[in-house]
Symmetry: C2
Subunit: 237 residues, 2 copies
């Protein structure tokens, strides 16, 4: 047995955690970056609370989820951005199938279109909103996508000028491409993507719709995006 074989059991175990439909539904739901209670997830996934409790135990033990107990509630969220990226990458790999299918009901279609317009993807912006921002940054020479994916010096200046501080943390990259699964194109993730999303929500550029991942750009947000990045309102609809 060569050395790499040692990785096979671990790889299979990790994949096995995601390989269950109920657990997969939980992970996708948690991609909104927030903490859910066990009960919410059970209802969301359509299984008994007892069943979901066992699933959460496995996901936490496997290091995919972090838990936080408050009173009689058990809150769980994705352990870190690495896990979020992993789930996102796996989902993107599947997306070609999903894109072929069209939503059936009007309600699902409407919810889907709101999600397609703009949403959060763990801690950064995605959907057409995320793409529009990423494209605008690229078009103005602030983000370089032709030889990889990195902010330029001008890009660092733009964040500074916009009053969005970029604090480098540990080993998380400042900028990273995240493949959007509705638009099928890369958008800005990493520290810069998270900071931008945070700022957009804090400054009221956009607001969450209900309790979903979908977000809506406000009129103040439209003005700010137009002023700072010359993004037209048409690109956001």
């Amino acid at each position: 047995m060569t050395e790499k074989d040692a990785g096979a059991p671990g790889l299979a175990r990790l994949a096995g955690l995601i390989a269950d439909e109920t657990r997969a539904a939980c992970l996708l739901a948690l991609l909104d970056g927030r903490a859910w209670t066990a009960g919410e997830l059970a209802r969301h996934a359509g299984v008994a609370a007892s069943t979901l409790s066992e699933h959460l135990g496995k996901l936490v033990a496997g290091g995919l989820l972090a838990e936080e107990r408050q009173g009689r509630h058990r809150y769980v969220r994705l352990a870190d951005d690495r896990v979020a990226q992993l789930v996102e990458d796996l989902a993107a790999q599947v997306a070609p199938d999903a894109a072929a299918r069209r939503p059936r009901t009007l309600r699902a279609s409407s919810a889907g279109s709101a999600m397609a317009r703009g949403r959060t993807c763990y801690d950064h912006l995605a959907g057409r909103l995320g793409i529009a921002v990423t494209d605008a940054l690229t078009g103005r020479g602030l983000l370089r996508q032709d030889t990889g994916f990195a902010l330029t010096d001008a890009g660092l200046g733009w964040f500074d000028a916009a009053g969005i501080p970029l604090r480098p943390t540990g080993r998380r990259p400042l900028a990273r491409a995240c493949l959007d699964w509705t638009e099928r194109r890369p958008h800005l993730a990493g520290v810069a993507g998270a900071a931008l999303c945070r700022h957009a929500l804090d400054a009221g550029w956009c607001v969450r719709i209900g309790s979903e991942r979908a977000v809506k750009v406000t009129s103040a947000g439209e003005r700010a995006l137009s002023r700072l990045l010359d993004i037209g309102a048409a690109a956001l609809r």
Copy 2:
């Protein structure tokens, strides 16, 4: 049910393909970027040929492997670089466990150390060799890692001057970070990483050791790396 639920079955199915230890061993073996026969994989994984045949059927049907039939042989390889990246990412997530464990036998230790010195990771260089090249590129301002991961204009010029053409293909990024699972640091992947690895093998900078993924830097390779990137021999040992 919201629109994102549609992704859960697909996600679970994809993960399920990797969630079996035998299939995981196949995928890891195929990370060397070459095509293996069904028999080789069966022996490698330690299962009956019939068992492995079924596994290959699933992996091919799931789009993870591409097959090529030649006479009475069935060759399979990873379907594309996206799949390779996915497996690599999953393996990297598991690596913290593997790093804690030390190889037991001397033979495994020796094989492991050759792998750690230098190896191919799908179609680019990894191990200390890959890290040394990536660090050298970064140190000379040819590759930018501080604000993401992208070649600089000077970097494009270096590839051109070195006689390594970079043909942009479809949507595959020119430069991408791949997390090394022995060194725990990012190294150059993507079109540029593949071209560099290809050139290194073609120009005799390094040669494969036996039929393994491990590669050894030749004396001609040491001279070339020293001349082009000022990499000292010490960094390769």
